[in-house]
């Protein structure tokens, strides 16, 4: 989750003053690197190197295990190589002994994992669901705008109303998932949704148990906090809308939707931009909700997305296909890179301005 500033960079009006002396100059040269070093070491160890490693692992078949390493006992007539080739029989071979070390239990398969992805129906189901998530998640933006417009009044208790509308965003996705899965419990008198539908003579429905509706049920749960987030962005943005422009437009006879579209929205662009950024990120990090609400089911990964499928392949009870999982992660990463590159490009342009 990220909020992003689009502040124009504060470029010093005065260029850096000439260095007062050689000592000062070198301190100014070295200082930034010293300040960066600890964070960079952390970041490299936990983010940069693992990205490269994932690419590498995706070329292997690996079940996540390391095997004990064996070597030949001197004078047994065996070689270390022969002991290694014995695999799980080495323990039975008197001529081989444990070294106390382990070996990476992986096999190089080249691009095979990627070729398998291409013919894997669940990969495509997951990708399709990713697209559905992304498209529907954008509803959070107009939804948030609508609520923000509704709440942008100065009446008694409005601050509390705004807080209460917003606070679903601070709930963890796990809690949101549980709350909504209980809300949608299947029986006619179990989930509140079905109770309410019953008042209107409809239902009961089992949204999360149905192949065609389950994904939408989870997205609805995800939209709840996401809409709250967009709402708060717009409320802040509306505070800063120039009142004079509004009055001027009013005098010109603009009102309602016209005013919104031609006068207010353009001024809200910074808020909209951030809303788009965080909504895309939110849509791609749908793992928590899916795990809690359906665990990918019903049936064959019907509510899975790439993030979920990757985890399921690599770390679930029946998973531990690390190479295949890494291949999925690489694809997901490459898709995200398009978006990240676009974002960085915009930042770069702003920096230059």
């Amino acid at each position: 989750m990220a909020s992003v500033t689009t502040n124009p960079p504060i470029t010093a009006a005065t260029p850096t003053p000439p260095a007062p002396g050689p000592r000062r100059f070198s301190q100014q040269t070295i200082a930034p690197w010293l300040f960066l070093l600890p964070a960079f070491l952390f970041f490299a160890t936990y983010v940069l190197v693992p990205i490269v490693q994932s690419f590498y692992i995706s070329l292997y078949e690996w079940n996540g295990l390391y095997s004990p390493e064996y070597r030949a006992v001197e004078g047994s007539g065996l070689t270390d190589q022969a002991c290694a080739e014995l695999g799980n029989r080495a323990g039975r071979e008197e001529g081989c002994e444990l070294t106390g070390d382990t070996v990476w239990n992986a096999e190089y398969v080249g691009m095979e994992n990627y070729a398998n992805l291409y013919s894997d129906p669940f990969f495509w189901t997951s990708l399709k669901n990713n697209v559905i998530w992304l498209l529907l998640y954008f509803l959070a933006i107009p939804g948030g705008l609508f609520i923000a417009l509704f709440l942008n009044q100065k009446v008694f208790g409005m601050r509390l109303y705004k807080s209460l509308f917003f606070f679903p965003f601070v709930l963890s996705q796990v809690v949101v998932g549980l709350v909504f899965s209980w809300f949608m419990l299947p029986g006619a008198d179990e989930g509140l949704l079905n109770v309410i539908l019953g008042w209107f003579g409809m239902g009961p429905v089992n949204i999360l148990g149905n192949n065609t509706t389950a994904t939408y049920g989870i997205i609805a749960a995800g939209l709840w906090p996401q809409t709250a987030y967009c709402m708060i962005l717009y409320l802040t943005g509306l505070n800063a809308v120039d009142p004079e422009q509004i009055e001027a437009a009013r005098l010109d006879g603009a009102k309602g939707p016209k005013m919104l579209w031609y006068v207010v929205l353009p001024q809200l662009w910074p808020a909209t931009f951030i809303a788009i950024v965080v909504t895309v990120i939110g849509a791609l990090r749908s793992f928590d909700l899916i795990t809690i609400m359906t665990n990918g089911g019903p049936g064959f990964y019907n509510t899975s997305v790439l993030a979920f499928y990757m985890y399921d392949v690599a770390l679930s009870e029946f998973g531990f296909r690390m190479g295949y999982g890494s291949a999925i992660a690489v694809i997901l990463f490459l898709i995200m890179m398009v978006y990240i590159a676009g974002f960085l490009w915009k930042m770069w342009r702003d920096e230059k301005a």
Binding site: L65, P68, R89, G299, N302, F320
Partner: protein, 420 residues
């Protein structure tokens, strides 16, 4: 006679010669023995601690260090424990669930121990499910039967008898459905319960051997015999035998349907008896029958998942570990730990006795006398992990919407060709 080489952290290698005499009784073994167990629920935990106590009484020289991990967490933690060499003995399951550790050489091959300790006789029934790659990789300590637990009182009210044939099964079920109930409760949210249904339907329709071939990947899922299994399943689904919305329930959440009488039976493992009794069903209301025959010419196969102990390949105290395994496998120990006050399950050792419990006796009798086809572990222990995952998803999808059968079988067949 064989020698086992081991290394300590200081890379000190010492060869230990094991004589046949050491197998016969555990005396003489000593040193620290590190056991990692997944027997974390209250009753199993007491059993595990009791075993350690009795073992150290008989072998005062051994200092056991026991670590008990949550049973679910253990399914991933075993990997770390085996690789880091922190354990001599670990708990696990029989069948294909051993495969990753056997293939990676993390379990120790104890074929010799089986031979010389006489286990090939006493534990013969499970030797097959402990064997892989020409080796035997552990010893079983308990198993439990699967079968149909049903509401005897409701059957009596409707004038029904426990079915033994498919025809009786179907006519019973029709009567139950006509009375406004479902024949079976089931919660397939976590998939494996549907695996139990497939196991039984397939073993009854095509036999144990075919089932084993299928889980071993030797038969295509699009085979007509597999289709026949699904057709029998569909007969039940179409007549409304199963409760609605089962895909949204766990097996525990499906229990109230049986307790409240909305459903009359449950195909489950024997562990379902305890919560059913706790929920208020008396032994007069609760009965058990073996899954009915479908094809009279087929010997019944049964699911009886087996829990096991293994020695880590990099164990440091192999002698004591082997002594402990022999102790676990003994008839005396298995009689004790499986009785109703302890695990409440069935001993594997053929010389052990079974506690006097209605359901344990029924299960023991069924597995000893009426499982001529063979004893399977369970779908997710017989099939490789990846196949089990996909197939059980397929079973759930089929149960929710039987019209997708062709698609389900296509996907399973695609998976089979990739996995095996």
């Amino acid at each position: 006679m064989r020698s086992i080489f081991k290394t300590s952290a200081a890379a000190l290698a010492a060869a230990t010669m094991l004589s046949g005499a050491a197998y016969a009784d555990g005396h003489g073994v000593s040193g620290p023995l590190r056991i990692f167990s997944d027997m974390s629920n209250p009753a199993p935990r007491a059993v595990m601690e009791g075993m350690v106590e009795r073992f150290t009484e008989a072998n005062p020289g051994v200092e056991v260090e026991l670590v008990i991990t949550d049973r679910e967490a253990w399914k991933t933690q075993i990997r770390n424990v085996l690789q880091s060499g922190t354990a001599d003995i670990v708990n696990w399951y029989a069948g294909n669930r051993m495969a990753p550790y056997v293939e990676a050489g993390l379990f120790m091959d104890i074929s010799d121990l089986w031979e010389e300790g006489g286990l090939t006789e006493t534990l013969a029934s499970t030797q097959g499910s402990m064997t892989m790659d020409d080796g035997i990789w552990g010893v079983p300590y308990t198993y439990y039967q699967w079968g149909v637990y049903y509401r005897e009182d409701i059957f009596a009210e409707l004038g029904l008898e426990a079915p033994t044939t498919w025809e009786e099964e179907l006519s019973n079920c029709q009567a139950i459905v006509d009375s406004g109930r479902s024949c079976y409760t089931i919660g397939t949210q976590f998939l494996w319960t549907a695996g139990g249904w497939f196991d039984y339907l397939n073993m009854r329709t095509n036999g144990y051997d075919f089932h084993m071939e299928l889980t071993a990947g030797e038969v295509p899922w699009t085979d007509d015999r597999v289709r026949a299994t699904f057709e029998n399943w569909q007969t039940l689904i179409d007549m409304g035998a199963f409760i609605d919305d089962h895909q949204s329930y766990s097996w525990q959440e499906a229990l109230p349907f049986m307790v409240n009488g909305e459903a009359t039976a449950y195909l489950m493992g024997n562990f379902a008896v305890a919560p059913l009794r706790e929920a208020g069903l008396s032994d007069d209301q609760l009965g058990f029958y073996q899954f009915p025959q479908i094809d009279a010419s087929i010997e019944p196969g049964e699911d009886a998942p087996t829990d096991t102990f293994h020695i880590a390949a990099n164990a440091e105290n192999v002698e004591a570990a082997e002594a402990f395994l022999l102790f676990v496998a003994s008839a005396e120990n298995q009689t004790l730990i499986n009785n109703g006050d302890n695990l409440g399950q069935l001993p594997v050792n053929s010389e052990a006795g079974v506690d006097d419990d209605e359901f344990l006796n029924a299960g023991f009798d069924m597995l000893s006398n009426n499982a001529g086809g063979g004893i399977a572990q369970f779908f997710d222990r017989d099939a490789p992990a990846e196949m089990a995952q996909v197939a059980m998803q397929g079973f759930q999808q089929f149960m929710v919407d039987p019209s997708t059968l062709d698609q389900v079988l296509q996907i399973l067949e695609g998976a089979r060709q990739r996995i095996y």
